[in-house]
């Protein structure tokens, strides 16, 4: 593991992580610890109406829940955040408890900002723009992929302006993440697979980011090992709590890794195709990974040798051969989980690839990719390979 002599990094991981089957019962104690006597419970209608997950958390929190806000859309939006914050303020909430996947958690991060700062969410857009901590926030993830429970990022769609607001701020890092694998056992197989691959992509990207750093590397490599070991079981045997737990912890480790080391071209591609064609974020990352690994082959071979070892791939041979084997193994892994291999399989027309390649350069993630990308021409072959889905 080598780093340049002039490398610098900051590693921030202030979120308290509580793990265990049944850990949902810890949520009330966490609220006590954080002085949260009046909370808004943020989730979505699917979880509230089709599962007992929200009911479990509500029961654990008792009378401190002054509002349930369940109107979170699949893509978190400014309108949802502002509506939730207004209702929470009116109800006297001083803290936020979120139960759900990435969209719910990001919405809750936005509500936590507005509970502290007021105003419009747009006023606070930026990087490290907040001058004080957002309202206290306890997260109970119900998917095992986004890692959002330990990241300093929130992405919230601004429908009026037709763009996504990006928040990156240590002040929105949740205070507590309660990892209860029982909350994830009801996740359908295809979402288990897609969100699980999201976690793998976070770990991979943390490893090949130009901002990579040894502490994040440690978390990322362990996460890669755990995803490989646990995710197939989660998909094939949804009720296996041990496997669900390993995957959930791996997702959190990968989240902490990329929150500090950043992400790269895989995410730039996923954000772009998600915005243009609505491809699920985890699935888009899954599809993009093999072609990005091939593209980066000569830029970070030492990192890829470590990733290969963690992923059970022979790390020997030339840099190109190694990247080829690693890319092939990631592709085969995704296929074994029942996921599609190429963007052509998820409704992306080939004619759109030029436009998508151009748009990739507008995504903030691209600058930290191991191999520098400066033009659409450079990245177009990556899109073509990902569209084709070459194993």
């Amino acid at each position: 593991m080598s780093y340049d002599a002039d490398s610098t990094f900051v590693f921030a991981f202030p979120t308290r992580v509580i793990y265990g089957a049944g850990a949902v019962s810890e949520s009330s104690l966490e609220c006590d610890r954080l002085g949260m006597d009046k909370v808004v419970l943020v989730s979505d209608r699917v979880l509230a109406e089709k599962t007992d997950v929200v009911a479990q958390v509500r029961k654990a929190l008792g009378r401190r829940v002054v509002l349930e806000f369940l109107d979170v859309p699949p893509d978190s939006s400014v309108a949802a955040v502002e509506a939730g914050a207004a209702k929470a303020q009116a109800a006297g909430a001083t803290g936020v408890v979120s139960v759900g996947g990435g969209s719910v958690i990001d919405t809750a991060k936005g509500i936590a900002i507005l509970l502290r700062e007021g105003g419009s969410l747009r006023d606070h857009e930026g990087f490290q723009n907040l001058t004080r901590k957002a309202a206290p926030h306890v997260v109970l993830p119900t998917t095992a992929g986004t890692g959002s429970e330990v990241t300093y990022v929130a992405v919230i769609k601004d429908a009026e302006a037709h763009r996504k607001l990006l928040f990156g701020d240590y002040n929105i890092l949740p205070d507590s993440a309660i990892l209860d694998p029982l909350l994830t056992v009801g996740l359908p197989a295809h979402l288990t697979a897609a969100t699980g691959m999201d976690a793998l992509s976070h770990a991979l990207e943390a490893m090949h980011s130009l901002q990579r750093q040894p502490i994040a590397d440690g978390l990322a490599l362990r996460a890669i090992h755990e995803v490989r070991a646990a995710l197939p079981t989660c998909v094939k045997t949804p009720g296996d709590v041990a496997a669900r737990g390993r995957q959930l912890v791996a997702s959190t480790m990968a989240g902490a890794a990329f929150s500090n080391a950043q992400v790269g071209l895989v995410h730039a591609i996923a954000h772009t195709v998600g915005a243009r064609f609505g491809v699920h974020h985890g699935l888009a990352n899954s599809i993009a990974m093999p072609s990005v690994v091939r593209f980066n082959a000569l830029a970070c071979p030492d990192q890829y040798r470590q990733v290969a070892e963690a992923f059970g791939v022979d790390p020997s041979g030339s840099d190109e051969a190694l990247a080829e084997r690693l890319a092939g193994a990631i592709y085969a892994f995704a296929k074994s989980l029942g996921l599609p291999g190429g963007f052509k399989d998820v409704g992306v027309p080939r004619e759109a690839l030029g436009e998508l390649a151009e748009a990739t350069l507008f995504d903030g993630s691209v600058i930290y990719n191991a191999r520098t990308v400066t033009s659409a021409e450079e990245v177009l072959p990556v899109w073509e390979a990902a569209w084709q889905g070459e194993g």
């Binding site: 610098t8 990094f9 763009r163 990006l166 990156g168 240590y170 901002q211 507008f362």
Partner: protein
Amino acid sequence: MARFPSAEWVTLYQDAINGNPAYKVGGANWDKGVVALICKAKPDVGLEEDAGIWLDLHKGVCREARLVTSAEALKAPFCITGEYARWKQVIRKELDPITGMLQGKLRLKGDLPTIVRFVDASKALVESAGRVATEFPDD
């Protein structure tokens, strides 16, 4: 030699930006508006109040540069805020500003991806600051 931050330094900075061919190229497509910088007050070096630097950048040219209050600077669509010591690191090319934002050393109000898309312009702006003969009050 001009003291940072001061009106004189800002004028020299504008000249340095406009005299930098790399900025002309990197910023050629910039039409996103003013970029403002805020240097936080540091009374022990004589900087009693926050200092704002207003850079009206358009298509590879700095049309106007002036010293403003922090309240005025915050009206710009993009505003980067940092402690005096951080700006000193940036001017001395010891800290890349985009890395600084990601690491919490500088604060950005505005859309990061837009700034990132113009990473060459951003680098040229920093390089231009390095070209100004700068006197730091605590040196």
